[in-house]
Symmetry: C2
């Protein structure tokens, strides 16, 4: 073993070189034609399909390590690849290749009285740093979205998925290369060295324009704490479904059970049920029983406990907990105003839904709840770039600057002002 400081120096040097290469690749990509980018992505998808044996072999190493470490089965499942999942990755890249190219789109144009013609035109951001944990498919999704938007990507996979990620990355690069795009358009940190994360968060000497973390709370907290460059942060998804007195109860049950139980581990899963105090007496029992019958633990206030004997008492901590599991908290609130106040206090500005047949109540909820996504009569599990029609995403941003909600191709772009004149000078 080298001394720690030597390891760190060499990591730093390697990371800075990676940043420099990414910056150069980003410049080339920013000028690449839509056709070249689409061709490169289709070639990457093809290379991914052809590399199936190598990717599965690499994944087997990661799986063996995870099993040896006694990781829970949900973790192993997130990590696991098979022929179908590799095909899904390749299909995803093909779909991203076919999206409209965002670069060069004129977002607005106007003419000033002095004859100057203004355009606001979409351009790539530059270099996107993506730090992720156990899902190896992020390599493909994030790399492809970054390239489609004309950016270069620097990926840093968690040590638990590194072998899989490296094999996927190798296939992507051979695809890019065969289509004549720079290899450095998608780079990956080749070692599990945690110091690499610190260097990325420091921006690699100005080479990284934005960091997108994809992972659990501790990763996101480290990123928020250390990052010296902008971050598209995804904080918790403590999502609420509020059932109003004017809701159709059957619809509410259907939406609620889907919002909680379709997948309990996704960020758009509902974690708290809010029920209008003025709702008919049948509402709370019907709602919590449906959840309980679907296999969900319910932790409720007095009304909820009274509604079904299986409901456990909630503590204050429950209103602030993102379970990511088959558990929900349930509370009675004073109408839509009470729901808005509860969400303002405990919510994470991610995704919140109201179920009601009253349009006015719904509009008030959607105007006053300050979340990236607000839904009326629909499941919170629609919080997903694909469901929005974005053709993929690399996360849901809960911040309010630049990207908010699903981060797809358009959110990975910036803009510039192009101004055309015929000799105009500015008066004093």
């Amino acid at each position: 073993m080298n001394k720690p400081e030597r390891i760190d120096t060499s990591t730093e040097k390697a990371m800075l070189a990676m940043g420099q290469q990414a910056r150069e690749a980003a410049h080339q990509l920013s000028l690449a034609s839509p056709g070249a980018k689409a061709e490169a992505l289709h070639a990457a998808a093809k290379a991914l399909r052809e590399a199936k044996p190598q990717i599965l072999a690499a994944n087997e190493k990661d799986l063996a390590a995870a099993r040896a470490a006694g990781r829970p089965s949900a973790f192993v499942d997130r990590l696991m690849l098979n022929a179908a999942r590799i095909e899904a990755m390749a299909t995803g890249i093909d779909e991203i290749a076919e999206l409209a190219d965002p670069v060069g789109t004129v977002l607005a144009e106007w003419v000033r009285p002095n004859g100057l013609r203004f355009q606001r035109v979409r351009v790539p951001i530059g270099v996107i740093g993506i730090i992720f944990e156990s899902r190896p498919n992020v390599t493909a999704d994030a790399g492809a979205l970054a390239v489609k938007a004309g950016n270069a990507a620097i990926l840093r996979a968690g040590s638990e998925s590194l072998n899989s990620a490296l094999a996927i990355h190798a296939a992507l690069v051979s695809g890019l290369k065969s289509a004549g795009l720079p290899e450095a358009a998608i780079q990956i940190v080749p070692t599990p060295d945690r110091a690499a994360v610190g260097h990325m968060l420091a921006g690699l000497n100005g080479s990284i324009d934005v960091i997108v973390p994809r992972g659990g709370k501790s990763l996101v907290e480290r990123v928020q704490q250390e990052a010296r460059v902008p971050v598209f942060a995804h904080l918790e998804g403590l999502c609420h479904t509020y059932v109003d007195k004017d809701a159709d109860l059957d619809m509410a049950v259907s939406i609620l059970v889907n919002a909680k139980m379709r997948r309990t581990g996704v960020c758009g899963a509902t974690e708290t049920l809010l029920v209008d105090r003025a709702a008919p007496d049948s509402f709370m029992p019907t709602l919590v029983s449906a959840l309980l019958d679907a296999g969900c633990e319910v932790r409720g206030d007095a009304t909820a406990q009274h509604a079904d004997a299986r409901v456990k008492p909630a503590t204050d901590a429950d209103w602030a907990t993102e379970y990511l599991d088959a558990i929900i908290s349930a509370k009675t609130v004073d109408g839509v105003a009470g729901a808005i106040a509860h969400i303002g206090r405990y919510g994470t500005q991610h995704t919140d839904a109201i179920v009601t047949a009253n349009e006015e109540t719904a509009e008030r909820f959607m105007r006053e709840v300050d979340s990236a996504i607000v839904l009326h009569n629909a499941s919170t599990q629609f919080a997903d770039g694909g469901e929005f029609g974005f053709g993929g995403e690399i996360g849901i941003a809960t911040g309010k600057l630049h990207a908010r909600g699903p981060v797809g191709v358009e959110q990975l772009t910036s803009f510039k002002y192009v101004v055309r004149g015929n000799g105009q000078t500015r008066p004093t």
Copy 2:
């Protein structure tokens, strides 16, 4: 004097309380009607006009201190208020009041195959922190723009302009109050304590959403270094004017002299002249002589020195210097590709212009130069929110995320997704 730690504790407490009040005011403002905001701003403009004597008296204190400290005349001029400048501030607020209200604007809408109706709707950001130095009018401009966009503002004036800023702020608040908007919509740090800046950069416990620095290099560097919240940074404005071989020379002279000399202290002033090596021999002498005759010092490469005996030799440092003075550097480059490469190396992604009659050359320059503002046949001094038709700005952002270029009312907003369904659940 209290002990330092006691001073710091009380500053921190006061700043956190200010943050909390701003957060509450921002919530109220986010729901305020367009009419209420416009009325409050007109009332603030009226109050400003009525407070002219108090503002001038306060400004006299700042001016006396500046003169006693031997500040240069340009500094004193930036600080100085008179009846005309106060009227200009009030007029500016009236104009901002009359802008279209951005909040609630539907930026995009679409329907998915499952019937879900999506809207992307403009919403306020929340709380804007503005840290500025010697120009007291920032108090009025920044406060009014923030309120128009439905945000609360926390202002921190430089110690040199604090008396003036406090007097302007008092007038604004009395206007807001008379129109029924919360006083805390525009707050100002009441002391010159530098620790307040650090607390703002730390985000006041999550109460500040974005920081806008308005000032010199050392302020911007401190902000970049310390900020734990997003920043709309304005780095240097090292702007270039490139005169191509296909330029109309008369037009080039007129644009260049305006771009450099209209005002030398603004960020959109041209700092480097680039001339095409393939241009007629008359170009460089005519261009540099026009600048010299207008009172500008020229530091040039060999060709420029050869063109006029008054040209001084440029060093490498000159290509990287934002003079903000009647000085320009002048260089010969190999066509538009040479100009693009020079700007890529030395530019600050602020504003750059090309003068040419060749449309193809112009389009290449505007596509490949990665600056917030690129102009064809017009002066770089148009880099200004007012000239863009934004009705005011609180700075020019040189970053590529969220706001780029002039930061006006729209750039002080975010958006949310409003999704309307009729019972949709997400399939597994």
